[in-house]
Symmetry: C2
């Protein structure tokens, strides 16, 4: 099954556009997890078991595993999601950006070693950073487009040939770059006007939207700006606000409650759009 089909099916069956980002930071773990023999795996496992009914996808951020020599835990947590929830796609957030044979190694890392359904990529070096991933035509390719950090202005906002760099990326991802139909775009939640502009340029491309929750984006405005023509097409990510909602041994329950309330806020935002 293609990534975009799997994502679309899961989004509709769970009636959820919430993606939970798995950014396991031992410095933020409750004491009970630190006492486990494999704290990173144990933490992610409990988060997945508690939140699975409420999500459209999981997005492990590889840096948190790599910094802690925990690639093995990442392999096992993706394996757990695939075996217990085969309908939930896994997005490996790695923002890889290289070309040629090196990019093919990164594609192998993401799609063979970790068996992720999709991977995030950085487009600085152009289309060549994306093309090698087409060798896995069923997997999703999620390209950085517009990010909400202050430094986003340094390149993304530059105007060249009458359009901003991020608009150019959106336009290309919505047309010639989207060879397998498996392309998605990363668009930060804090600037709804820019989400709307990306949606116009790439009408049917799913948007991965970080910045809900800990990063303070406005759910209603982001959803109104980013829905596709069918009223779906968004993967709205929350990491810290869900993972670290609780600080004690009830953290998994707290995460589930935070996931439910975020999912419901997104549902309400979506309903608001339909009624207009």
């Amino acid at each position: 099954m293609l990534f975009t089909e799997k994502l679309s099916a899961r989004t509709r069956s769970a009636d959820s556009m919430l993606c939970v980002g798995l950014d396991p930071d031992p410095a933020k773990f409750p004491q009970c997890i630190l006492a486990e023999p494999d704290p990173i795996y144990a933490f992610c496992e409990q988060i997945v078991r508690a939140t699975a009914p409420y999500v459209c996808a999981y997005k492990p951020q590889i840096a948190y595993f790599a910094a802690n020599r925990a690639e093995d835990a990442l392999e096992r947590i993706i394996s757990l999601i695939k075996s217990e929830h085969p309908d939930i796609p896994v997005i490996l957030d790695a923002k890889r950006g290289d070309i040629g044979s090196t990019a093919r190694q990164y594609a192998k890392e993401a799609f063979v070693r970790y068996n992720a359904d999709a991977v995030t990529l950085s487009p600085y070096m152009g289309f060549d950073t994306i093309e090698p991933y087409f060798e896995y035509p069923d997997r999703g390719i999620i390209v950085l487009c517009r990010t909400s950090n202050p430094g986003g202005k340094d390149i993304e906002e530059l105007v060249a040939g009458g359009e901003m760099v991020y608009e150019r990326i959106a336009r290309l991802a919505g047309s010639s770059w989207n060879r397998t139909g498996q392309m998605c775009l990363v668009v930060g939640a804090t600037q709804p006007r820019e989400i709307a502009s990306v949606r116009r340029l790439a009408p049917s491309v799913p948007l991965l939207v970080p910045g809900i929750g800990a990063q303070g984006g406005d759910v209603n405005a982001a959803v109104a700006a980013g829905l596709d023509a069918d009223g779906w097409g968004m993967i709205i990510n929350s990491s810290r606000a869900i993972l670290y909602a609780g600080k004690d041994e009830h953290f998994a329950q707290a995460a589930a409650e935070a996931a439910i309330s975020t999912r419901d806020a997104i549902r309400r935002a979506k309903a608001l759009c339909r009624s207009q």
Copy 2:
């Protein structure tokens, strides 16, 4: 010791601006290495032992290790370089590009876990992708600027505000972004005119130049364009043309010979500039 000082000292003492890229690809290994219990480590170890006298730096490309579940081999090969050749800096080629707490995890991966002297970064998300690395003020930060692949035109060549995107990156890396004096730039070898333009915009920033050897750049033209005012300031990388110079059990000797001839070609190119 600061990365740029270590690099400068080694470049001068070895009279070499050659960097050997460690891109271990088991599909290209000689049979004798495939028979080893840990082929990736064994291959890199023999390459390092054979080529160390001729290099100013090593540049392991993390994708080749990650695709093959060989992070452990990468740790040990860097450890070997550090213990046997403490004056040779190690550049981790990872092209990371993220912000905030995620970037801090990537910095920990590069500088604590792997103990690399420098890391390569992608600037798409702007200065925020670089700033977290200043927490390690002695380590090198090597930012993608101008790459020689065809897709380099997609973003790097765009003209905004009277300069190309890569010229803007060069200008910033040569000024306000270079807070710790540890910044370097990646500039492909195939377009000497562009190397010269980057050198003008960032006169004292070391340039990491891939594209010599297998990628076909002209050594004389690249060196003439990229030397700094002292006649140094370049890290000229060759990977495949050295690693895979030989295909049988004498591969390490063949790699040493390829390293010597590339180092010498760079030396001659440098002498040519001095005599003009």
